[in-house]
């Protein structure tokens, strides 16, 4: 009852839940990740009012972050299109959409790097105050998740370019997609809680 995909058939592996092993594992893993982000987000909320010195209002550039957030959200759309493409067997479009997703993701990460440097220049460092500590660690860990996602999608793109990703492998794209959407949803929460809700 292993993932014996070496035997390439369309027959589903035996499954007590109706989900394949890999997909079930991904869902469970994401459930676990919820608590990780939950812990960091709670920390940020707890410390919002206790922080002294520089406040979010002093450093935030909401229009800019809104723009990069929008771009990240768009990447979920292209991710859906990528999955639809491989399910149709349209490998050229799969690669186009994968690359588009990666580019959107990269834009977001680049925006974050830019934002971090701006904040730093305005005097907000990890060690400045509780706001600095909890902000950088929370958003940094999210950024790391996006980066992992980008590497993952690029790998799928590479496999596909070598013709190693067939229609039967659509689940691999689907699982990467689950992860990607999750990271996006987490960002919606972070953006709302960390940026939008007023002090």
């Amino acid at each position: 009852m292993t993932t014996e995909i070496a035997v390439r058939t369309d027959e589903p592996e035996p499954s007590g839940t109706g989900l394949t092993n890999a997909k079930l594992a991904m869902w469970a893993f994401l459930a676990s990740e919820c608590l990780l982000f939950g812990a960091f987000i709670s920390t940020f909320l707890l410390y919002r009012r206790r922080s002294e010195g520089l406040t979010p209002r002093d450093v935030y550039n909401i229009p800019f972050t809104s723009a990069t957030s929008f771009i990240l959200l768009m990447s979920s759309l292209t991710m859906v299109l990528a999955l639809a493409a491989i399910q149709r067997g349209d490998h050229r479009r799969l690669r186009v959409w994968l690359i588009a997703t990666c580019l959107f993701g990269l834009t977001f990460v680049a925006g974050q790097v830019f934002e971090f440097t701006e904040f730093y220049r305005e005097g907000l460092k990890l060690s400045t105050n509780l706001f600095g500590s909890s902000f950088f660690v929370l958003t940094g860990i999210h950024g790391a998740h996006v980066t992992v996602g980008i590497i993952w999608l690029l790998s799928l793109w590479g496999l596909s370019s070598q013709g190693r990703l067939t229609k039967l492998d659509s689940e691999k794209v689907e699982i990467a997609g689950l992860y990607w959407h999750f990271v996006d949803v987490v960002w919606i929460v972070i953006f709302t809680v960390v940026y939008l809700i007023p002090q």
Binding site: A6, N21, A22, A28, S32, E52, L130, V137, W152
Partner: protein, 651 residues
């Protein structure tokens, strides 16, 4: 990334970077195996080694405390001793030993040929082993952990430069626990998917053996308990190394946040430790009482109830921190509530033994010892739940007495009983019963000598985590008794280890089913073939193996069925066991079974990936970009190679 790795697999047998290991026997096969049974044994052997290390640390503690004003250890050494003792016993002994049983038994109990993710399974082992080595390596690399297994802030989180906790110990500890947490989560994912997805036909959830049930609950607890502590330790690490102020009260931080996050993990953790033990007891008692478990559903549901309630009680570890009356009341009540499903189980076990034809084998004795001692620990736990009384007890030896009655008297007794019980399945030999009974009585004696007097000195206010006490407080005699007890205990552990080694070499051959047992693992031949079941069993009832052996006549008397399955009787399985008609004694692959079953192939990459993660851990300690790059390259290499090699090589 983990789950894609087993999913992305290619058809062609193209030359991979490393030639695929082929050996499934011999010394080197243990490094690359993906067989859940071998991985289980690796976990078990490693956990027993760490048990010995943790035991030596405990002996150091007790030798220091044997007399007032002890001089064996300095205060600093004492801090290291109890920190490493607690860390070892919880993360390197308790959890892995449960995973060892789970690995070996879960697939066999649910009629599967392997776990859902064999390579991820092995990855979990390597992370555990490397994590343990990492934490212990701190002793040679600038100071061992010394902030307690709970690592309270701001003690542990004060910046390295402040020198509050000398040495890099707290960093090794924080990074090491995060690493072990990653390993535990991978193994939890594997258990969840295996148990939910890979059950044999007919093995419905409510037919699963209780041990498998408890492993499922444990896996969910692990999955959700590790993230909060990972977050907390990340913050500790950043506070120490990168100048964040998460726990710096001067900057307005709340150091109690750490305690909340830690115990949000820590309390479920104690159930992660004890539930597998409860599962083992629930397997052993019925077999040696020749009765089915009393109230199967109740045992299962109280296990699930514990799994849920366990999330609502964490602040009972913080009763003395000034939470305010509302929180104190709520957490006091929820803690009393959780005692109910626990108490219910005790009655289930008693009901199982009651009126049975009991055989007092060593395995049975240890499980009965579990019930008695665990009950005592549970009762002192309920005393802790009463807030005013806990204010007197917290941070005293009374707490030490409590959690050793549940962890040692409970968990470890159950695990030892489990080893006596399943040793024949793992090795084909029986453990020595006589020596086993000696071990049991020595252990009961040593255990109670060590930990019972702690109740008394604890109530008298003897503080824990303190390296010496003055004479004339009336604590001299009880402490001496405790230390003598600890040495008696170490004799018991020694007897057990001797028994393991001698029985492994020269034990009596056991046959396939020496205990006349009830669950599927005992229908496999000894030694269990790599593929477990030549034919995937079709399960028709709870206690499947039993119903394949026995039926009832008109008057309700047990009647043994002819071997090889029968064609009559409603409770009898429709499909015979491996090897149709072959007597179970026939060795592996009887009845032509086993041919053409492709098992997952061994692999180097779990080990390499584990090594990459280890490099990251050291990189974090030394802030070394070089090590970090090395780690990244190794991890990427391992992940890609893993993705490109098929789970199972084409024959």
């Amino acid at each position: 990334m983990t789950s894609v790795s087993d999913a992305v697999v290619l058809p062609s047998a193209e030359p991979s970077l490393l030639r695929r290991p082929r050996a499934t026997t011999g010394f080197w096969s243990w490094f690359t195996t993906v067989d859940h049974k071998k991985i289980g044994i690796l976990y078990g052997a490693t956990a027993l080694l760490f048990l010995c290390l943790g035991g030596i640390e405990a002996l150091l503690i007790r030798t220091q405390l044997a007399q007032p004003d002890g001089t064996v250890l300095t205060a600093a050494q004492y801090n290291i001793a109890f920190t490493m003792h607690g860390t070892t016993m919880v993360f390197l002994m308790g959890m892995p030993l449960a995973v060892a049983f789970g690995n070996y038994l879960v697939p066999l109990q649910i009629g599967a040929r392997d776990v859902a993710f064999p390579r991820i399974n092995m990855l979990g082992y390597w992370i555990f082993l490397f994590g343990g080595i990492f934490i212990y390596s701190s002793i040679f690399l600038g100071g061992a952990p010394n902030g307690g297994w709970f690592g309270y802030t701001p003690l542990t989180s004060s910046p390295i430069s402040a020198g509050v906790l000398p040495g890099r110990g707290a960093d090794f500890w924080a990074v090491g626990i995060v690493m072990l947490g990653i390993g535990s989560v991978t193994s939890a994912l594997n258990f969840i998917v295996t148990i939910l997805n890979c059950r044999a036909p007919g093995m419905t959830l409510m037919r699963m053996p209780i041990f498998t049930w408890m492993m499922l609950v444990t896996a969910f607890l692990t999955l959700f308990a590790m993230p909060p502590v990972t977050a907390a330790l990340t913050m500790v690490f950043f506070d120490r190394n990168f100048g964040t102020t998460f726990f710096d009260a001067v900057k307005g931080a709340d150091p109690l946040l750490y305690q909340h996050l830690f115990w949000l993990f820590g309390h479920p953790e104690v159930y992660i430790l004890i539930l597998p033990g409860m599962g083992i007891v629930s397997e052993v008692l019925p077999v040696f009482s020749r009765k089915p478990i009393f109230g199967y559903q109740v045992v299962v549901f109280s296990g699930i109830a514990i799994g849920f309630l366990g999330w609502g009680v964490w602040a009972h570890h913080m009763f003395a921190t000034g939470l305010g009356p509302a929180a104190l009341t709520a957490f006091g009540l929820s803690t009393m509530l959780i005692a109910i499903p626990t108490g219910v189980k005790i009655f289930n076990w008693l009901g199982t033994v009651w009126g049975g034809s009991v055989r007092f084998s060593a395995a049975m004795l240890f499980c009965l010892g579990f019930i008695a001692q665990f009950t005592i620990g549970g009762l002192s736990g309920v005393l802790h739940a009463v807030v005013p009384s806990d204010t007197q007890q917290t941070d005293t030896y009374f707490v030490i007495a409590h959690f050793h009655y549940v962890l040692f008297g409970g968990l470890l007794f159950a695990m030892v009983g489990g080893i006596f019980y399943w040793f024949p399945k793992m090795t084909g030999r029986l453990m020595d019963e006589k020596l086993g009974k000696w071990t049991f009585w020595t252990m009961v004696l040593g255990f109670n000598l060590t930990f019972f007097p702690m109740h008394i000195v604890g109530l008298e206010g003897m503080p824990r985590r303190t390296y010496r006490y003055g004479s004339g407080l009336g604590w001299d005699v009880p402490n001496m008794i405790e230390t003598v007890g600890a040495y008696v205990l170490s004799i018991a552990v020694l007897l057990f280890v001797v028994n393991l080694i001698v029985s492994f070499r020269r034990g009596q051959p056991s046959g396939d089913d020496p205990w006349d047992a009830r669950t599927l693992e005992w229908t496999t031949p000894n030694p269990v073939p790599e593929y477990n079941f030549a034919e995937v069993p079709v399960v028709a009832s709870r206690d499947e193996a039993w119903h394949r052996k026995y039926t009832e006549d008109a008057e309700g008397h047990l009647v043994r069925l002819p071997r090889g399955g029968a064609d009559s009787g409603t409770a009898v399985a429709t499909e015979p066991v491996s090897g149709k008609g072959a007597p179970p004694a026939e060795q592996g692959g009887g009845g032509g079974g086993g041919h053409g079953i492709h098992m997952p192939s061994p692999s180097y990459y779990p080990m390499i990936l584990g090594a990459g993660i280890l490099a990251f851990a050291y990189a974090a300690i030394y802030h070394s970009l070089l090590l970090c790059t090395v780690g990244a390259i190794v991890v990427l290499f391992a992940v890609y190679a893993w993705m490109l090699e098929p789970g199972t090589e084409p024959a």
